[in-house]
């Protein structure tokens, strides 16, 4: 795998093999047996932000980002130090990094979670815009969305179990567990 110097990539899991993903950060892992030290990628308190998980199950490459805003339209690409702050640049960066690590574009499938409206009478609909842009960008790259758990009014916590390829999505009300591939 290629390890590039990037401040926004979480490489080291904690001692339990967990990776916690802050906003505007991403993680890229290989789930083949050689890389046993990674167990889960988690995001706590996902509100209007959106989590994008791309997987290539054939080459065992998985990447997830935690994205804040829909588009970087007002900024030049070169000015963006944190591509995973914006949905459009995040998906492109994830795809690039995955391909560099041995994934194939045609194998990529996506899972999308988040984009809730947390405040009532929300002043902006960032969550909804995040979902819309993510769908647009994924379809423009011909990446199939395996499933999405988006919108609503509840914050979510997600735990992606890398080895089993299972994602757990918790809200204060219930927990959903899904096998991805």
């Amino acid at each position: 795998m290629v390890y590039e110097e990037r401040i926004d990539r979480i490489i080291k899991p904690n001692q339990n093999g967990e990776i916690f993903l802050p906003i505007a950060h991403y993680a890229l892992v290989n789930s083949s047996k050689k890389y046993k030290n990674y167990k889960t990628i988690s995001i706590y308190g996902l509100g209007s932000c959106i989590a994008i998980l791309l997987t290539d199950s054939i080459n065992h490459i998985h990447a997830m980002s935690h994205v804040l805003l829909p588009t970087s339209e007002n900024k030049e690409a070169s000015q963006i130090k944190l591509p995973h702050k914006f949905v459009n640049t995040s998906i492109k960066d994830l795809v690039d990094k995955m391909i560099q690590s041995g994934a194939k574009l045609k194998n990529l499938k996506a899972v999308m979670i988040g984009g809730a409206t947390i405040f009532d009478n929300e002043f902006n609909c960032i969550g909804k815009q995040n979902i819309k842009i993510a769908r647009e960008v994924l379809s423009s790259l011909n990446i199939k969305i395996l499933f999405e758990e988006v919108g609503g009014k509840k914050g979510r916590t997600i735990i992606y179990n890398i080895g089993d390829d299972i994602i757990q999505i918790k809200t204060s009300k219930d927990t959903i567990t899904k096998k991805i591939n």
Partner: protein, 216 residues
């Protein structure tokens, strides 16, 4: 409720001089002082206030500075938009909010699970508490600087701090990666109310404030 200590090893894109930091803290003291007087009149009890703190953090660490990431808390967010962009965010534990509602109104609530289940009266009581605190906070700053700061109707949330901070971070981090947060803890011992008032100005507003107060 206390804010966690600042995190180390962070690259800040905003650098403020000691004078600038002090003056922002002082604004926080004045604003929260006025807000607390209003709150104390509302509940008719003594309110304890901490000294105001200031933190400059990257937007993705906003939720980390609050204690207790897991449980649901009340967030009341009053935005001031237009020429000046700033937010007064009030955070209360769920129990605090229930105690507050029960003590200032005839309503008696045991528990709240989500905002949607609140009836109109309870909801407007919470909004009004938010309005009073944010309004007094903002108007004292406005008077000091000779500008107009009128908060919009507050928006409410009952969720984890991470989810609540997402919206605030989204509002302030389109152009910069740092957020300035000026926070004051409040406590009403007799009613077991525990909360934090945060004043979050945009970078542009900070510049205007420094210009108006002639701080370099």
């Amino acid at each position: 409720m206390k804010l966690n200590e600042g995190l180390e090893g962070v690259n800040n894109s905003i650098k403020l001089s000691p004078e600038q930091l002090d003056s922002l803290k002082e604004l926080g003291n004045i604003g929260s002082g006025n807000a607390v007087v209003a709150l104390s009149e509302l509940v008719n009890k003594r309110v304890e206030v901490s000294l105001t703190g200031i933190k400059i953090i990257p937007f993705w660490e906003l939720n980390n500075i609050f204690p207790d990431q897991e449980t649901n808390i009340f967030g009341i967010c009053s935005n001031i938009t237009g020429k000046h962009n700033l937010t007064v965010l009030q955070i209360f534990t769920k129990e605090s909010m229930i105690n507050m509602i029960n003590s200032i109104s005839e309503i008696s609530i045991d528990d709240i699970h989500e905002i949607e289940e609140l009836d109109d009266l309870t909801r407007s009581i919470i909004s009004e508490i938010g309005n009073i605190l944010a309004g007094h906070y903002a108007s004292s700053l406005a008077n000091l600087m000779g500008i107009k700061l009128i908060p919009n109707v507050p928006v409410l949330a009952l969720d984890s701090i991470g989810a609540i901070c997402n919206s605030v971070a989204a509002n302030y981090s389109e152009l910069t990666d740092s957020i300035i947060i000026i926070n004051t803890n409040i406590k009403i011992e007799e009613l077991s109310i525990d909360g934090i008032i945060c004043f979050i100005p945009s970078i542009d507003t900070i510049k205007i404030i420094f210009d108006l107060l002639k701080i370099k």
